[in-house]
Amino acid sequence: MNQPASAYFLEERHDPTESHTLSVLVQNEPGVLARVIGLFSGRGYNIESLTVSETESQKHLSRITIVTTGTPMVIEQIKHQLDRMVPVYRVVDMTLTGRSIERELAMVKVRGGGDNRVEALRLADAFRARVIDATTESFVFEITGNSAKVSQFIDLMRPIGLVEVSRTGVAAIGRGPEGM
């Protein structure tokens, strides 16, 4: 392999990557989300999904759920980098705990008539998606589930007349009585 002369050791590594879901409890203050996102973009980490919302307004706490991919060493780094930020209380790797539930909500708009309408409703029923808006030529379905299920539903709607999708991104919580 012929590498160009460089000031750095150009090393290409192809270690296998993993997907992890991280729950991050932060002080809800201006700029905190920019800090987290800036960390990911600045250090070249991936964000597959990111959700954030205030969860305890009295204590000004927000919970950020991030789905990221990377080698095990990079995932470790991401957690430590998040954890050392001043407004971050805790970082929990939901994937490592192995006891977490992940859900995502999507609203899926489908347009069509005749058999396609019937087929859309039939599939929605099978996926427990609800109709939250309907016109004579369209439906908006609301579907909740893990990301794979949501994606599968969207894929099935595509040939039927998928117009657009709005997904919330993943929210995660641990099973059992304990909090994070």
């Binding site: 750095y8 090393e11 954890d83 930020m85 407004p87």
Partner: protein, 591 residues
Amino acid sequence: MTDKSHDPNQMTGAAMIVRALIDHGVQHLFGYPGGAVLPIYDEIFQQSEVEHILVRHEQGAGHAAEGYARSTGKPGVVLVTSGPGATNMVTPLTDALMDSIPLVCITGQVPTHLIGNDAFQECDTVGITRPCTKHNWLVRDVNDLAKVLHEAFYVATTGRPGPVVVDVPKDVQFATGTYHPPRKSDVHVSYTPRVKGDATQIRKAVALLAGAKRPVIYSGGGVINSGREASKLLRELVEVTGFPITSTLMGLGAYPATGKNWLGMLGMHGTYESNMAMHDCDVMLCVGARFDDRITGRTDAFSPGSKKIHIDIDPSSINKNIHVDVPIIGDCGNVLGDLLQVFKAEAKKPDIKAWWQEIAVWRARNSLAYRKNSEVILPQYAIERLFEATRGHDTYITTEVGQHQMWAAQFFGFEEPHRWMTSGGLGTMGYGLPAALGVQVAHRDSLVIDIAGDASVQMTMQEMSTAVQFELPIKIFILNNQYMGMVRQWQQLLHGNRLSHSYSEALPDFVKLADAFGCVGLQAIKPGDLDGALKEMISIKRPVLFDCRVAALENCFPMIPSGKAHNEMLLPAEATDEATAAAFAGGKALV
């Protein structure tokens, strides 16, 4: 209702800032005024507890504060205006972040109602400085100001130290509110740096150390940051274990250069013996260093046979580049103290005579040797003579960035921590001159020398004017090779000697320049002139710019070439043209 007009804690935001500085024991402040900080400057004018040092460019204020911080262990404090004042601080903030230097930078901001309007001299200071600070704050309410300022000092100086920015809009500086002195509740409850190391991990480390046959201690800037006690403990550990010790560029001085276990600096331009010891060791104890790429060379060939122990206060430094076997998260000084205690109680000095014999063979290669020259001053010789000339003086050294920086690290011996200020992580040309100012402000009677390069010094040389104004007798010792020597060296070794833009066609006459600034200009051209001129430089109690004309084409060796391992160093004695070409050929990338 109480009458607030007599409450001494009622004051303007601008007054709070000065008051907070005083409450945090700040004696010196480096800054540059502008519209958005005038209320603060007005307060500074009306008091005498904090001395303000007026620089000539905000970058100079930042580096001066870094030098001040690194030589004292106290935070450096900077005050600059909004917009260009703040953007000029980006380089020193980044520099301080990379080298873990505690800085508190206060920036003025346009009034809150104008934020976001592209007002005159507005910039998104917290946005711009977010990635180059440990934390930053925009204060929109004067009643939050005291808390934020106290927290800023706390965050900058605790845990892994670093720079912080407090951005204060002008209307907040004018507004009146309630001040309170520092208190525990000022700090985010989420911010809890870990100081004490885990006892089980420390025991594991001691077991490894006690069983080592070929150990090495590799220390870094973290030991210096941790405070004098950490350096003392490090020395004791070396004594108790009998282990060889090397250090990064940032760690020089924690263990004395004359200490018998000292291997010299490691890394790209480190000594042969230190890099070989790192490569061949069976147990490596890393204290307050971060396995940076200038240290490790190619990571897949880094110290392949060793068990690695890593002490660091920042969990994100651990397992970042190199996998370690026993991580210990905590303050270097604290952990070293515990580790020593356990070692003394439960282990005894392992017999490593055979290892020292191996090291002696590497040492005998004399990797810092250079051929003498009676015609031209060799840069290595210049540093050696400078070191000799400063013996017996209370000396502090700063540097710029380039070959001269590496030669300074190789040939100037540091006996104590906090004596060596250099831009390690960021490699900022222009750091050394203002850093020397900062050091001199903190140590008025000491000998403070910036070992400079002819190119670097031109980046911040306007600060000579600051030196004159504040009677700071810094010595700027330029190794003038008329090249951006480090760039030229790489072009020679890697780019077919095509010296693209690494030669300064029109260098200023440094002696006249010194004169123009009101400094003293000196020059040495022949080796025979050097000692006399150095003596003169040291005797002058004013700022001196010393133009030391050195060999133009000298290269900095030893060197770990292109993507090679530690045991493939290129030594000066062997660096013939053919050997050099071979070492850098083969399509490998240079580290």
